[in-house]
């Protein structure tokens, strides 16, 4: 996908320069994030892959990070843009802490700040090529929201990015309910991640599940899901096929 704003000053060389200042397409990308609200807070699942086009180049990228005391941010899309966002948020949290006045940024505030940033960049035709998932708990209230690279933002009980929207959300719509226990929540997320592993070519079998509650953030150690490939249909895949193709 290429965006080009015609800059008509007859200077092709200079145009190339200004074009290279804007994000035109992503290079190293992360795939889906899936997140749900549960009894004590929010659970977020992501794999650790960074694809370079169709190559699964990086296999140890953490795509979910803690923000301040109350929030968790997961990102899919361009990894370098995610790192840039983490720098912005770092500064934001630092300034918030420096006030030292008993007030602190909650997940709602961070979500709205990110919405403003993403939307502003989109208006300048220089987007941060990410879809972000922001979850958190503050004063007993759980919060889960999403912001896309064009600034579309909303809250929900369960969210997913990229392929997760097509493969994971339908499962969540059927099986999510309020007050899931931690074990049930993890099982549900693993079910979604397994489907993504089977069907999303940029997914890898190395995932982390992050949890945020009133107490704080925990990020699990990376682990893999069990997969099953012994379906009958795989033994003789062309058995039912007729014709020349």
């Amino acid at each position: 996908m290429t965006f080009t704003i015609p800059i008509d000053n007859g200077d092709a060389l200079k145009n190339a320069e200004t074009d290279s200042q804007r994000t035109l397409y992503p290079y190293v990308t992360g795939t889906s994030i899936v997140a749900i609200k549960y009894k004590d807070g929010v659970l977020m699942a992501s794999d650790m892959g960074g694809s370079y086009g169709s190559t699964l180049r990086y296999k140890n990228i953490e795509r979910v990070k803690a923000i301040g005391k109350h929030s968790l941010l997961g990102a899919s899309g361009e990894i370098s843009d995610f790192q840039e966002i983490l720098r912005y948020l770092d500064e934001l949290v630092l300034n918030d802490n420096m006030w030292d006045d008993g007030n602190s940024l909650g997940p709602k505030e961070v979500h709205n700040y990110l919405t403003r940033v993403m939307y502003n960049r989109r208006n300048k035709f220089n987007p941060l090529w990410n879809t972000l998932v922001l979850g958190g708990v503050k004063n007993g209230q759980s919060y889960l929201g999403m912001v896309s690279m064009i600034g579309v933002s909303f809250e929900d009980n369960h969210v997913a990015t990229g392929f997760g929207n097509h493969l994971a959300r339908p499962i969540l719509r059927d099986e999510w309910h309020a007050d899931l226990s931690f074990e049930d929540g993890v099982k549900l997320l693993e079910k979604c991640m397994r489907v993504l592993l089977y069907r999303d070519r940029s997914a890898i079998n190395k995932l982390q599940i992050s949890k945020i509650t009133e107490e704080g953030v925990t990020v699990s150690q990376p682990y893999s899901l069990k997969t099953f490939w012994e379906f009958q249909a795989f033994h003789n895949p062309t058995a039912g096929a007729q014709g020349s193709w």
């Binding site: 006030w99 006045d101 008993g102 007030n103 602190s104 940024l105 909650g106 709602k108 505030e109 979500h111 709205n112 700040y113 403003r116």
Partner: protein, 307 residues
């Protein structure tokens, strides 16, 4: 004493001046010497006096004392701001002295009301910008610091003058209700209750007697105390709802003004109380009124902004 001071020249200078500064600040005989220095070092805000004071800033704080009274008090969950309605003449309407900054922040001013309006506009702007970016109310403590920093700038630029208005800022944040006083000097202080403007000493005396109970006060008692404090500043004039403006904000209550009927109802509950309470109150008020009328600067050796 510096060698270059020439007494005769000083005297001429003093008499030529409109003497606002000299007149209000010369209570204490010990300040004769200071009088000579004042006129030399008070022309602009970026000039220090030999005793380490910025007279222009202190004069700005005098302006606050000339305005009509404004009072603020807070409990754990509510803040009440009240002011006296002073009108230029019988024909005109009264000055608005209390402004809504946001649903959770209000401000009462005393002094140059024009400066107060400008600062209220700044506060509204900051508050709404924060709300837009973070979808969350701006904590009042952070707003007050920005306001104070803005005032400080005017004390350190030769082409500016300090804002001649004191602001009582009441608002909420995560830790509950707060009341702050912002000075033209750029200082700010947090209070349980405070009064500014003319005859505010009478109100302060009343508040000093009661403030320890304010934290646990109910909303109604807080309003009643505010109106009673206003009454103290009126020095015997009958308290009517048309003479005062009262505003409330609280944890589940956005900032709003009380209508005249509600105020009158509260007044009716205590105006009926017989002379005993009123006499006691008035005697104290009279004693406190004397220094208050003179602006209160004469009874301290320390510059007001060092408070």
């Amino acid at each position: 004493i510096r060698a270059h001071i020439r007494p005769f020249k000083e005297k001429t200078k003093a008499s030529k001046r409109k003497s606002f500064s000299v007149q209000t600040l010369l209570r204490n005989k010990d300040e004769e010497e200071a009088k000579m220095f004042r006129n030399q070092y008070d022309t602009d805000v970026t000039t220090w006096s030999p005793t380490g004071r910025l007279f222009q800033v202190e004069y700005a704080m005098e302006a606050v004392k000339q305005g009509s009274a404004a009072i603020g008090l807070r409990s754990r969950s509510h803040v009440v701001l009240a002011s006296v309605n002073k009108a230029q003449s019988e024909l005109s309407s009264h000055q608005w002295k209390i402004f809504k900054v946001d649903d959770h922040i209000g401000v009462a001013i005393a002094g140059l009301t024009a400066d107060g309006r400008v600062l209220s506009r700044y506060m509204r702007s900051e508050s709404i910008n924060h709300s837009f970016t973070y979808e969350s109310p701006l904590p009042v403590g952070r707003l007050v610091v920005r306001l104070a920093d803005k005032a400080q700038v005017c004390t350190q630029r030769s082409w500016k003058r300090p804002y001649g208005v004191g602001l009582l800022v009441g608002g909420l944040d995560e830790s509950g209700a707060h009341l702050y006083y912002n000075c033209p000097s750029g200082n700010y202080f947090e209070y349980q209750a405070f009064a500014i403007g003319s005859r505010s000493q009478a109100a302060k005396t009343y508040l000093e007697r009661r403030f320890e109970s304010f934290n646990e006060s109910s909303r109604e008692d807080l309003i009643k105390d505010a109106i009673l404090a206003i009454r103290e500043t009126l020095q015997g004039e009958t308290l009517k709802s048309s003479l005062c403006t009262v505003s409330v904000l609280g944890v589940d209550e956005p900032f709003h003004f009380l209508d005249q009927e509600s105020i009158q109802k509260v007044i009716d509950t205590f105006e009926k109380v017989p002379e005993e309470e009123e006499d006691g109150g008035e005697a104290e008020a009279e004693a406190a009124a004397a220094p208050a009328e003179q602006g209160g600067a004469g009874d301290q050796d320390v510059a007001p902004m060092e408070m």
